[in-house]
C-alpha cells in the first residue's frame, strides 16, 4: 500500500437517489452487471427464444395445412406462451428474489447496503427490479413472439392490456412476497421454499378457499383477469363458447358496486403491494423494526375484513357463496337446489378461523420483545416523554390486538348474520349475543395469545400454541376414532384447541345449528366452558402484562438512573 495522494477526509456531499429513477438506481445497475453477463445470459435467452419460437412455428405450420383460419392458428400459441411467461416471471423470478435476498443477508453483504445513503424505498426498488433482471429479460425475449400472435390473431388491446396489467401487478406482488420472505427468513433454503410454496399455493390451494366464501383470495392471482380475457384470446369458435358460459356466471360485485375483474384485481393486489412496500422500507430503515406499524397493521386487518365481506355478501342471495351451488350447477343435479345448514355453519366457522388466524399473525408482527420495550423506555426518557409512545414498535400491542378482535368480531357477525338470515334459511334470526360470543372468542384466544407473547416471549408462546393448539386436536381425534361412546370426551378435548373454537361457536350459538345427536350436547357445553377458561386466562394475562411492563419501566429507570416518572 503506497501513499498515493494527500488524504482527503471531507465527507461526500449529500446525494439522494430518487426511488422512481430505476435506471440510475445503483442496486439495479449492480444486478444488471452481474446477472446480464453474456456468458450466463446467452444460453438462457437461447432456450427461451427456442421454446417461444417453437410454439409459434407450430402455429404457423398448422396454418399452412389450412385446417384453421389464419386468425385462429395465430391465437393457438397465446395460452402456451402465457404459461411460459408465467413460469419465467412467477416461478423463476420469485425464487431468484427470495433466494438472492437471503443470500445477501447470509453472506453479510446486506450490511453494506444498509449503510449506503439511499432511501429505503430506493433500495427496495433496486432489489425489486434488479434481483430478477434476468427473468425480466427472458420475459422480454418472449414478447416479440407474443406480439406476433396478438397481431396476427387480431386480439384487441382491450383484451391483452388488462391481462398484462394483471400480469405485471401479480409479478410485483410475488416478488415483494419473495423480498419480505428473504428479509425475514434467515435460512436461504427456507426462504426459497416458502416463497415458491406461497406462489404455488396461490394457484392451487388458495383458489379452493374462494369456494368457501373467501372469494377475495382469488384476486391475488391472474386467474380472474385471465378468465375474463379468455374469450378474446382463444380461437374464435372456442372463445364464443367460453364467452357464452361466462355470461351465465356472476360478475364481480363488491358490496353493491360492480367492478371489472381487472379493476378489482388491481385494487386487491395494490393494497397488498403497498403493505409489502411499507414492511420492506421499515426493515431497510432498521433491521429490528416490526414488519408493520401499529396503525398500519390495524388498518390492514380491517381492510382485509372489508374485502372479505365486500366480496362475499353479494354472493349470498344468488347462492353462489355456497360450495354445493357450483357443484350442483356443473352436474345439473337438482333444479330446486337449497344450501345445507351444515354449509352455512361451515362458512361461518371458516370465516371465524381465518379472522382468528389473521389476528394471531398480525398481533405477532406488532408485539414488542422485552429488549424492545427497554429500548423504548431509554428513548422515551431521552426525548422527555412520560411513557413509551403508543404507536412506536416498543409500545404495547395489546390495545391494537383488542381493536382487531373487536373489528374481527363485528366482521364475523355481519358475515354470519348475512348467511343465516338470507332467503335460504327463512325465519332465522341471529341474536346480538352471538356478536358477544364471537368477540369473546377472539379476545380469549387471539388477544390472550398476544398478551402471552408480549409477557413471556416467542419461545413460550410457540410452545403453548403447539401444546394447546395442536396436541388436543390429536388426542381428541384419537378418542373420537375409538368409538361413539368416546365422542363426548373427544369433543371436550378437541375444544381445548383454539382452532376448534370457531367451529364449536358455529355449532353452539347459531340458531340454525344442526349437530348430530351424539355431539349435540357436548359441543355447546365444551364451547362455553373453554371459552370461559380462555377469556379468564386472557384477562389474567392482560393483568400480568400490565405488571410486567411496569417492572420493565422501573428496571430500565434504575439502569438509566432516571427520575421516577408519574404514571410510568
Amino acid at each position: 500500500m503506497m501513499p498515493h495522494s494527500d488524504p482527503d477526509t471531507s465527507p461526500t456531499p449529500a446525494h439522494r437517489h430518487a426511488a422512481w429513477n430505476i435506471w440510475n438506481n445503483p442496486i439495479f445497475r449492480r444486478y444488471c452487471q452481474s446477472r446480464l453477463r453474456l456468458r450466463g445470459m446467452g444460453i438462457t435467452i437461447l432456450l427461451t427464444v427456442l421454446v417461444a419460437g417453437f410454439l409459434v412455428a407450430i402455429a404457423a405450420a398448422v396454418r399452412t395445412r389450412g385446417d384453421f383460419s389464419p386468425v385462429d392458428s395465430a391465437r393457438g400459441p397465446i395460452i402456451p406462451l402465457l404459461v411460459v411467461q408465467g413460469l419465467i416471471l412467477f416461478v423463476l423470478g420469485t425464487a431468484q428474489v427470495a433466494g438472492g435476498m437471503t443470500a445477501e443477508r447470509d453472506e453479510g453483504v446486506i450490511d453494506y447496503q444498509r449503510l449506503i445513503p439511499m432511501s429505503p424505498l430506493a433500495k427496495v426498488m433496486g432489489y425489486l427490479f434488479g434481483l430478477p433482471v434476468r427473468e425480466y429479460v427472458m420475459f422480454l425475449a418472449t414478447l416479440p413472439f407474443m406480439a406476433w400472435c396478438l397481431w396476427q390473431g387480431e386480439v384487441s388491446w382491450r383484451v391483452w392490456l388488462p391481462l398484462y396489467t394483471a400480469f405485471f401487478t401479480s409479478t410485483l406482488l410475488y416478488y415483494l412476497t419473495g423480498l419480505v420472505t428473504g428479509t425475514v427468513v434467515r435460512n436461504r433454503r427456507w426462504a426459497f421454499l416458502i416463497s415458491i410454496g406461497l406462489v404455488f399455493a396461490l394457484y392451487t390451494v388458495i383458489p379452493q378457499m374462494s369456494r368457501f366464501g373467501l372469494v377475495f383470495f382469488k384476486y391475488l392471482t391472474t386467474s380472474p383477469v385471465f378468465a375474463e380475457a379468455l374469450p378474446g384470446i382463444l380461437p374464435k369458435d372456442a372463445g364464443a363458447v367460453v364467452a357464452t358460459g361466462q355470461r351465465l356466471l356472476p360478475t364481480v360485485k363488491f358490496f353493491n358496486l360492480d367492478f371489472s375483474e381487472t379493476v378489482f384485481t388491481l385494487f386487491t393486489q395494490g393494497g397488498l403491494i403497498l403493505t409489502f412496500l411499507v414492511s420492506l422500507c421499515r426493515k431497510w430503515r432498521r433491521d429490528e423494526s416490526h414488519l408493520l406499524g401499529k396503525i398500519w397493521a390495524l388498518g390492514f386487518f380491517i381492510w382485509v375484513q372489508v374485502l372479505l365481506l365486500g366480496n362475499a355478501l353479494p354472493l349470498i342471495e344468488p347462492g353462489n357463496l355456497f360450495p354445493s351451488r357450483e357443484f350442483n350447477r356443473m352436474m345439473r343435479l337438482d333444479p330446486n337446489w337449497q344450501p345445507a345448514v351444515m354449509e352455512a355453519m361451515a362458512l361461518s366457522a371458516i370465516y371465524g378461523l381465518l379472522t382468528l388466524g389473521m389476528l394471531h399473525v398480525i398481533s405477532s408482527m406488532i408485539t414488542p420483545t422485552v429488549d424492545r420495550q427497554i429500548q423504548g423506555w431509554r428513548r422515551a426518557r431521552k426525548l422527555g416523554h412520560p411513557r413509551i409512545p403508543w404507536l412506536t414498535d416498543a409500545g404495547s400491542g395489546w390495545w391494537f390486538s383488542l381493536a382487531m378482535a373487536l373489528a374481527g368480531g363485528v366482521g364475523w357477525y355481519i358475515f354470519t348474520r348475512a348467511v343465516v338470515e338470507s332467503r335460504w334459511f327463512p325465519g332465522q334470526v341471529v341474536p346480538l349475543q352471538v356478536l358477544g360470543y364471537f368477540t369473546a372468542l377472539l379476545f380469549g384466544v387471539g388477544v390472550g395469545f398476544q398478551a402471552l407473547l408480549e409477557t413471556r416471549g416467542g419461545p413460550v408462546a410457540r410452545l403453548t400454541a403447539i401444546l394447546v393448539g395442536v396436541v388436543p386436536l390429536m388426542v381428541g381425534a384419537v378418542f373420537c376414532v375409538i368409538g361413539e361412546t368416546f365422542y363426548p370426551i373427544g369433543v371436550w378435548v378437541i375444544g381445548i384447541s383454539p382452532f376448534s373454537q370457531p367451529f364449536y361457536a358455529a355449532g353452539s350459538v347459531l340458531p340454525i345449528s344442526d349437530l348430530p345427536d351424539s355431539i349435540a350436547r357436548a359441543v355447546p357445553l365444551a364451547f362455553k366452558f373453554w371459552l370461559l377458561v380462555f377469556a379468564l386466562g386472557a384477562g389474567w394475562l392482560a393483568r400480568d402484562l400490565l405488571a410486567r411492563r411496569k417492572t420493565i419501566a422501573e428496571a430500565s429507570m434504575q439502569a438509566t438512573g432516571a427520575e421516577p416518572i408519574e404514571g410510568a
Partner: protein, 324 residues
C-alpha cells in the same frame, strides 16, 4: 454594545459512547461501556473473542439499537439521526464479505455510485485512488470470488475509504493480512488519521493494535477494563510485574541477600553471576531499587528488564474473568 466573543471550546470528541449496553434476551453482550475518542486518532479496541467488540461496532455503525446508552459520532447522535451518521461512517465488518458475482472495480463502482461520487469518470478516478491506497491496482479486473482472504480485506477497506468517511470503524481489519500488508495498513490508517479522520479499529491481538494505535482500550465480557496509551493500559490492568536480571562482577550471594529484603522483590534465584528476581512496583520504585543496589557498593555489570507481553496480559485478564 457588541456581544463578547465566544469562549473557546474544546473540540468535541469524534466518538463519544456513554453507558452503552447491549442485551440479547438474558445475555448482556456489552455492559456500561463508555468511551471518548478525540478526532484524528487511531484508537484500538482489543478483547478476546466474545468480548462484545462486534456488538459495540454494530451499535456505532447504526446497524443495531442498543438496550441503553448513547453514541455520538462527530457531533451526530447515531440513534436519533441515523441517516446523517451513516454518511460520515466507513464500516468494515469482521470477515468482510464481497459479492462473488462482481469484479473488483464493479464492486467499488457500485458503492461509489451509491454514495453519489459523481459521474462515471469521477467514480473511476476515485475507485483507482482507493485501489492504489490498498495496493490492489493490479487486481482491478479480477473477480471478487477469486481473491485471497488478505486481498478481500483490502478490497473492503478500499470500499470503506471511497466516500472519505470522517469516522472509520474497522472490525479486525488486519486478520488475514501478511506482515507486509499489515505494515502498509498501519501506514494507511495513520495517514488517514493525520488527515483528520478518526479510526476506531478492533483486534483480538493486543500487540498488533499497540503498534497501530495512538491509544486503545481493552474489553472483556462486555465491559471496558482499561483505556489509554499502551503503557497506561498495562498499568490499569494492574500488570506491573516484571522480571529483572542483575549481572554482577562478584558478591552475588551478598546482593541476593540484600535484594530479598527489599519491598516488591520476589521469586529470587542466583544463576552464576546473575541474580534473577521478580519485581512488582512502579517504574519509580524500580529506579529507586537500582540506585540503592549500586549504593551498596556492589559492582553491577548489566541490568536487564523483561515485561509480560500484551498477549500474556490479555490472556491473564481473560482467565481471571473466566475464573471470577
Amino acid at each position: 454594545m457588541t456581544a463578547p466573543p465566544p469562549l473557546p471550546e474544546s473540540p468535541p470528541a469524534a466518538i463519544e459512547v456513554r453507558g452503552l449496553r447491549v442485551d440479547y434476551g438474558n445475555f448482556t453482550a456489552v455492559d456500561d461501556f463508555s468511551l471518548s475518542v478525540p478526532a484524528g486518532e487511531v484508537f484500538g479496541l482489543v478483547g478476546p473473542n466474545g468480548a462484545g467488540k462486534t456488538s459495540t461496532f454494530r451499535v456505532l455503525t447504526t446497524l443495531m439499537e442498543p438496550t441503553y446508552g448513547e453514541v455520538i459520532l462527530d457531533g451526530v447522535d447515531v440513534l436519533e439521526n441515523m441517516e446523517a451518521a451513516r454518511r460520515i461512517i466507513g464500516y468494515m465488518p469482521d470477515l468482510a464479505p464481497v459479492p462473488g458475482d462482481l469484479k473488483v472495480w464493479e464492486f467499488l463502482d457500485f458503492h461509489a455510485a451509491a454514495y453519489g461520487l459523481g459521474n462515471r469518470a469521477q467514480r473511476r478516478q476515485r475507485v483507482n485512488e482507493c485501489l492504489e491506497e490498498v495496493a490492489l491496482n493490479d487486481q482491478r479486473d479480477s473477480w471478487c470470488k477469486e481473491l485471497s482472504r488478505g486481498q478481500t480485506q483490502r478490497v473492503v477497506l478500499a470500499k470503506t475509504l471511497l466516500h472519505r468517511p470522517r469516522v472509520l470503524i474497522l472490525d479486525e481489519p488486519a486478520s488475514g493480512l501478511d506482515p507486509l500488508a499489515r505494515r502498509d495498513l498501519r501506514t494507511a490508517l495513520r495517514r488517514l488519521a493525520a488527515g483528520g479522520a478518526t479510526v476506531f479499529v478492533s483486534s483480538h491481538i493486543l500487540s498488533e493494535l499497540a503498534e497501530m494505535c495512538s491509544s486503545l482500550c481493552v474489553m472483556n465480557r462486555g465491559r471496558l477494563l482499561a483505556a489509554g496509551t499502551a503503557e497506561q493500559v498495562r498499568q490499569q490492568l494492574g500488570n506491573t510485574n516484571r522480571t529483572l536480571t542483575a549481572t554482577l562482577l562478584d558478591r552475588e550471594s551478598e546482593a541476593a541477600a540484600w535484594l530479598t529484603a527489599q519491598p516488591g522483590v520476589h521469586d529470587l534465584r542466583v544463576s552464576g553471576s546473575q541474580v534473577v528476581f521478580g519485581f512488582t512496583g512502579s517504574d519509580e520504585d524500580q529506579a529507586g531499587l537500582v540506585t540503592r543496589l549500586i549504593g551498596q557498593g556492589l559492582l553491577l555489570r548489566t541490568f536487564e528488564e523483561k515485561r509480560s507481553s500484551f498477549e500474556d496480559i490479555l490472556v491473564e485478564v481473560a482467565e481471571n474473568n473466566r475464573r471470577s
